[in-house]
Symmetry: D2
Subunit: 404 residues, 4 copies
């Protein structure tokens, strides 16, 4: 039997960290003894626990300690983080440390340095003055890559003990939740972000347009509530088609169903915008005079259209290479404080992969499955609101106007 | 008031074409009179209808006639198809004809010529000896593009009046359907395709691996039931991770849940395969010795991994540019006779866009929403089987073995 | 080989009847020859087909003919319907005819008589002047029960060739459909029913209250748009609780989630209403002064609360015996012209079982599964609108007011 | 400002009780200070916390203390529970205490007495030697009903720190979870219950039969793995129909879809069984010779069929009055140690309402929504397994046989 003592600090109970640590130790076949526990007396004080972990062999102990490190535990045995060079472009040393979306600090020459560009499933690479979270494929040969083991700590986000819906609802998903409360909370966070100078990011799928929500999203953009729009080719085409063809001509006006040959209008819109030279030029020329993309161009909102295998066209603005598109998403997400994920599994999971856990995130979808997936993949901060996205946007726009 | 007479031929009742034609005329504000109707007396005889259509003005009549043309109606007024040159690479003349996934013939110099590479939402471009379905973005400057109007006819697929599940179940979706019948029908179609020399295509999402279905899919590949595998980076990584790390190390063996830091194993697998130089080399070197990708390499099965914005890595084999990936999918789909779409909305819709409607298609998913979406987007031949994909694959493999 | 000739009349193509007939013959191993077919030339003319059916033996032919009869086919060989007495209360002769939800006529003494109380899965019993659709359990000993075979014909509802959304959308289900069109069509039908003196029935589940839709439903009741409310104990309790306790006290006002012990408020509301002597008295006494039940009492709207195995309480108004509750539902449905099914699988399927197919029916739910189930169980007239029921009600109330 | 000191004991961290307590205090506008906290050092030791709670007025403090009581907190100020008589049959005093599904003790004459028949949303009534959980509607006039306030404590179930899947997965829901682990854990619990002399309860919906799972469920019954079967009329009819008519005659053998008039077979089966005098007699007479109901009769398994508003028939065995049916469910659930909820929202929620939280519960369904609903309604112990119920049963039967 081998053991080691670890220390955990923070809002260990509020953030559900201590429970997870206990679970993980037992799941991996270990045992623990809480040597010391000092609980934060009030809302503001952090707690601190000293835990002795026992396992049957050093390998099992290592496995447990690695899990605990991902929960923020610091091994009593201190030491600098270890680094090894990347063998080739995109090839890491096998013992690489894989990041979470929690804020991370790395001990270099006895000093704890914060990692930059925090996001999950990255390598920690020494770049410039400190360690950065870099996607595996973007690591260059010979760059110094952090190895798992000592010298790396994470700080799980704290469930704030204040009156924010986001402090209490994290990881809650339900079709029956009081949506008014969730929408009011979202509006409150958007105003907070505005004041704090953080960016508000909207991730949107084509169902925003199908559900009639694009009218309200366009208004949010026009009124300055959106800084970044991350979406794909299909959303933009649907939105542009509505503006160019005035009516949704690919849809029977009697039944609301797509008609045979209706995709012609879809292709027509792409053709017209591409002939104009892209979305911005189509707005300048007057071809496009309403809608989300129109407002985004007028307002100077950053938008990134990531291509996908099912695209028609695509639009000239659509980035067809996924490596380039991911980089553009990463760039656009800098400074994000609030993120609305609207009716898209693909882009929501993509953005969840790129966001630090501290960003207040709301995921709106018709079923529980997208928020459940996000949470299972580590985007545990996302609050799931199960409703019609058109409804959500209408209400959110109303709420933001009322309380302006 | 203006009118025109059209003729429709084929299994007008079985294929539900006549009903749709009547609906469309009335929906667009027109009226009709059936001048002559000769019904096929038996299973083998086609029916023939001559219909006089009346509308309030020439524009309305044109709109109706275009809809009817997409249903296979031929205007009595004959004439060659009209063509105009593409203005620039990827820019069509505004009056371009947009294809369906029904087999299409084009009248050129008085002769009806079949279009090649039939798929929906394409331009019809004169290339080589005849008209080809070409994605908008791939049309080159000055190529001749067919215009809508006379000289283009489609042939809706006929619901065969024989004992095939596929003849009767098309467009049926239910969680309660007798899955045994659907699975037996799928096996029958796969054997038929085998004998007919048609290709069997599998489109797979990561849930195939999550549900434990990859064992059965690997067996289907090994036993020669799969010719083409169309999927993305994530499916391949999950499959390779299971082979390389022997156990699914990113998952708690007690609870089955992803653990903190568990994605490391995901990244590790990508790293190892990329270091080896790609999937085929990883199989050759012995690094990968089981699983779907392993069997595909060993069997020489064509596989295409299309990238997406949410990918980790990606694997060297993953095509990151969507234009290139779409071309590779199109190429791989040539000669397809059967297509199994397994637990993936993204790739299923992508492949549905590229398949002619005559390909026998089964879509397996946990909810009705993917088959409903496919059908709404024109892939109406897809039979929806709402079940656990692991269960489907296990049963299908059993059925194919039993009846071999 | 044996054969028989049948005649079918009506909108055979528009109503999709002929296609189903052909399918059924082939599925059952038979063959057919269309002897004569006269298509309705215009919107108003019915079609007529004479079909010769061949099968391998008399039993197979019988089976086919029975299927065709359910589609409205009349065997050329005429004859009166046969009857046999019920052996005991609730026990039918084994050869009983089982009804559909299509209007049915029965040949008695050479005369065709319409069945009353048309609904599916009933016996046809001679009561009073003619045949009535009676639930199996309600048939009394010695009553005359119609047997399958000659003398019974059904008339499938015709998809009207006019500008009603209901004529074209039947059996269409989609989350992506243009909901505005479906809601406008619903409002149009409600006004039509008003003018025609037909009753408007609302079937509601508790999610109407959870989604905040009860405010809009209360307004619809107040403004006279609802004649009958069919629901269960839970819906009424949630609605009453909101009125009595003013705020939804069982729910955390910060997070919108149910709190520990929150059901107390649920039980409290039941207690208070039962103490008052039931809903009507609770309204009279001023205990309940708002909400759907309040408006229903004030407006004299018929409401039936059917109990279920998961009920709390129940309220005194709740009918706890299902036989009694079914009878009350049947009674309340008389004269129904429009039926809105709102966010309840249980009550929607129950009501679908009791409605003739001619009633214009809309089913609103968050997923495709409820409308798909309804359609599979024979309530094929139901249009599925996949959206948040709160949203639907808000929009419907707005639409009815605008166009008043 | 007012304050009070409460004490909490148990596995406060593992069971997530302390975090919930902190949340609730802050949500209700209060503040807290942890006076003393002694954490259980090892897996076996309970923890103990003394917390001082402050609120702005006595009403707010009461509200907080009531919430904390539902989490197991004991007010330092001791006292006996207060009781008041029921005003009338089914009418409680307004200050009644509403139960949770956690084990509850009541202080009577200075002694803590355990409540019997623990289930949620009940009154605590003095009956016989101690307090019993009694459904509101069943309380008799003048019976002593416990009031909220002092003298009542609950004991939240402890997440066991051992190697059981149930210890760690509670409240986890996912379609992607490793189902093999969940199924193995279920089998392990069933064997544990067998050895401990606890009863194994199966709650089943009709989809068990639709999915082909009834074969495996019948085997589980035959092999002695089921003590109680709680279901409704529809499940039993589908199961009996399969046995009596040998083939599922209401379904097209080619397409697997229900056919017109297919419900006749459903009604025929009801008719035949009712003529025989009920299910047991139908088994005795040889009419029914296979299936779940057959095995249940042969094995002497308790079954309760609760009626519902959507029933055909019903069978003579079906209890049509919901009050009677609830009582029968309650009776049958006595001694339950494991509960499998199979593909039924209605009966699962009903049974969840009647089960103490300590019963190991698994909920199998095709979507996340049923387990999410269960959890929201307080059946938080239920593990959600999102899969095809036919698949689950086949695997479970295999697992139980293998490891027998």
């Amino acid at each position: 039997m081998v053991h080691e003592t670890v220390v955990m600090e923070g809002h260990l109970i509020d953030s559900d960290v201590l429970r997870k640590a206990f679970n993980r130790i037992v799941e991996e076949g270990g045992e623990f003894e809480v040597r010391e526990f000092r609980v934060g007396k009030t809302n503001d004080e952090p707690s601190r626990a000293t835990i002795s972990v026992t396992a049957r062999d050093p390998e099992a102990l290592d496995r447990i300690l690695e899990h605990l490190a991902y929960l923020g535990a610091a091994s009593a045995a201190l030491g600098d983080a270890q680094f090894a060079p990347a063998e080739a472009d995109g090839i890491l040393p096998d013992d690489f440390y894989s990041t979470t979306n929690f804020d991370t600090v790395v001990r270099i020459a006895g000093k704890w340095v914060s990692a930059t560009d925090q996001k999950m499933d990255c390598a920690l690479v020494l770049r410039g003055e400190g360690p950065a979270c870099v996607k595996q494929g973007q690591v260059k040969k010979e760059e110094k890559v952090a190895l798992r083991g000592a010298g790396i700590r994470v700080r799980p986000p704290e469930r704030s003990r204040d009156y924010s819906v986001f402090g209490f609802m994290s990881n809650d998903i339900s079709a029956e939740i009081n949506k008014g409360i969730a929408i009011a909370g979202t509006a409150r966070e958007m105003r907070r972000a505005r004041e704090a100078g953080e960016r508000i990011v909207v991730v949107a799928g084509p169902a925003v347009v199908h559900s009639g929500g694009e009218v309200h999203l366009a208004r949010l953009v026009r009124e300055g509530w959106v800084d970044v729009l991350l979406t794909g080719n299909a959303f933009a085409v649907h939105d542009l088609e509505k503006s160019i063809l005035k009516t949704s001509l690919g849809v029977c006006q009697l039944s609301g169903r797509a008609v045979e040959g209706g995709s012609r209008h879809h292709l027509f819109a792409i053709n017209a915008v591409n002939r104009a030279g892209g979305i911005a030029k189509a707005v300048d020329s007057g071809l496009v005079s309403s809608g989300v993309m129109y407002e985004a161009v007028r307002k100077g909102v950053t938008f990134v259209l990531a291509g996908s295998i099912r695209d028609d066209g695509p639009l000239k603005d659509t980035i067809t290479d996924m490596i380039v598109a991911q980089k553009a998403y990463v760039e656009a997400l800098k400074g994000a404080g609030v993120c609305l994920m609207l009716a898209t599994a693909l882009h929501s999971i993509a953005v969840g992969n790129l966001l630090p856990a501290r960003v207040r995130t709301v995921c709106v979808d018709m079923t529980e499955s997208v928020p459940v997936k996000l949470s299972n993949r580590g985007t545990m901060q996302a609050i799931g609101v199960v409703t019609d996205v058109g409804f959500f946007l209408e209400r959110l726009a109303g709420e933001l106007r009322t309380t302006a």
